[in-house]
Symmetry: C2
Subunit: 339 residues, 2 copies
DNA sequence: TTGTACGCGTTATCAA
DNA sequence: TTGATAACGCGTACAA
């Protein structure tokens, strides 16, 4: 089989202990021996066995990541790929491995997320796309190891909530619309299983209430799909008193809405101003180029890992971490024409 | 610490061996004991330790996945997320874990991909986005364990090549253009470090050569970015003899090209027919809705894992696996007007 | 500075 | 059907 420290010990006529120490660059071993050991290790093509190391040190150096997706395009549309990038980089940088799970695999039906984690002795876990009606939610709340959940807030002694600071971005967006003269601003939210829906709606509502222009008839509950954007855009222009702007809480729905508006003959952005949320890669390519609130997915992924690692190092639990969002102004909003 | 089989053995006054057998549902143990063991295991909150199991069985049940990305949007734009989905599902279905690595992590600079794999005793590895000028390419070729590479062909005794059957899709696309009356068909390819560029170009060229309408002046080498699509679209309409159609080998570049064409006042699709490649999620939302060749990313991910698993089970190495592509006809191509 | 002895949690082999 | 023993590859006290 493969070379072990025993083999190289035998070759050098020393003990495995000495080899182990040399390879781990311990203080209590001579430079001379270290060099010799390293050289023959190299020569023999030795590769350390992390499995054995993890067993003996009782430390897996592993973080579990759960990616929940439903439709074919779900991950890309939900920023999952950016999260993943941030997660891996931050983890690897700190010498942690990522083991990835996805829903829909029979795996997850047989066993709970937490048991999967326990068996692998992961030191922490990250959840993405978790729904608040997930059957295993209670277990997650009581997790014995640190957990970071992206975009879903859950109370639990070990869980951190990682999300965009949507409030700030939305405030900025609403002020922008306000300054453009908009007074009737509709919203298309997401389904109620995603907390981001609620949070984004609240930020929207709060601003409008303060300005005294909130109108509940301008609230439409979509479900994050393009189709729902399309559908509610249609409803919006059927209104007796049509709004001059819509805030659509995901770019994807905004895409659907834009299509609907165009199909109905509206001239964009003059007949309707639109602000999205996410800044997905094609937002700048559609017609009109979409003004939207940008999320920093990579930073969110990194923050998820950081929260876990901090806690593992004995730090205090960060109940929540918010990542800045910012308004990206393009061409989908116009000044309200004075009549 | 956590409960082990020893603990439950002690409690039941039997040996760990018996517990192990019971828990693994072995034949040589009484039903009675099995039930008793399972019950107390449950009661004590026992969770098996895969690390120990993997050490003793000398089987990691793990596949390493390397995701190479460069830009912020790289993974989503390169279909990485779909691959990942297919990979995880197929792996988990077969009781395999995925451990994920990404480039740019200091990790990969310190150690080669193969050593990372060896240390973790992964049974196989999948590469996505690998460049043929990668410094570790030789090592990959000589890998002792099975490797699946998506979209990059490499000769090696253990490496499988997983890719889209772009030939078939492109043929279909070219025939479609031909039947629409197009005789001057340009192409915008990708950079030469990606083999998909070459393969897609070859398929394009072959068809046109057969029809005797190939013109090397209509070939433009982009680099998969939106900007390069934009840039070469501009060059195309500066041609003395403007083509009536362009085949752009990635939807993303097609997006850039469409923007350029529009900006220059072309009416699409009448002034220029466009066919993309990938069918990314927004292809249907741009104006005009993009006719493109669809890749099945999920199937590719699954195939990558299947190739590894088959080989692990003693099957023959599949040098290459091609996944069907198909032409998705939308509104970006028009019949050539007869003058 | 090096070596001895042991243990991590589990499974495998063989004996009882 | 169950148990005793050893082993997987490595790290860590502690002794030499």
């Amino acid at each position: 089989m493969s070379i072990t420290i025993k083999d190289i010990a035998k070759k050098l006529r020393i003990t495995p202990t000495a080899v182990s120490k040399a390879l781990n660059n311990r203080e209590d071993i001579s430079e001379e021996l270290k060099i010799k050991v390293r050289k023959t290790a190299e020569k023999m093509g030795y590769s350390s066995n992390m499995i054995a190391k993890r067993l003996v040190t009782k430390k897996s150096n592993t973080i579990g990541v759960f990616l929940f997706s439903r439709s074919k395009y779900d991950i890309e549309e939900n920023f999952g790929s950016q999260f993943i990038n941030g997660i891996i980089k931050e983890a690897n940088k700190n010498d942690y491995d990522i083991t990835l799970f996805s829903t829909e695999s029979d795996f997850l039906n047989k066993k709970s997320y937490i048991s999967l984690c326990k068996e692998r002795k992961v030191e922490g876990a990250v959840f993405t796309g978790l729904r608040i009606n997930d059957p295993h939610i209670e277990e997650i709340k009581n997790s014995p190891f640190p957990i970071s959940i992206i975009d879903t807030r859950l109370d639990g002694k070990n869980v951190s909530f990682i999300s965009s600071d949507s409030e700030s971005g939305i405030n900025e967006a609403m002020r922008y619309l306000w300054e453009l003269g908009h007074r009737r601003i509709a919203i298309i939210t997401g389904h109620k299983y995603a907390q981001v829906s609620e949070r984004r709606f609240n930020a929207y509502q709060q601003y409008l209430v303060e300005k005294n222009i909130y109108d509940k008839d301008l609230v439409f509950e979509g479900d994050f799909t393009k189709d729902s954007g399309y559908k509610y855009a249609l409803e919006i222009i059927r209104l007796r008193n049509i709004p001059t702007a819509v805030f659509i809480i995901s770019d994807l729905m905004a895409l659907g809405a834009i299509r609907a508006f165009k199909k109905e003959g509206l001239s964009l952005p003059n007949d309707m101003s639109i602000i999205g949320f996410d800044n997905i890669s094609i937002a700048e390519h559609i017609e009109p180029a979409l003004t939207t609130i940008e999320q920093n997915g990579v930073a969110m992924g990194r923050a998820a890992i950081k929260a876990i690692l901090d806690r593992l190092k004995g730090g205090k639990l960060k109940k929540k971490v918010f990542i800045d969002t910012k308004l990206i102004i393009r061409n989908s909003c116009a000044r309200v024409s004075e009549i």
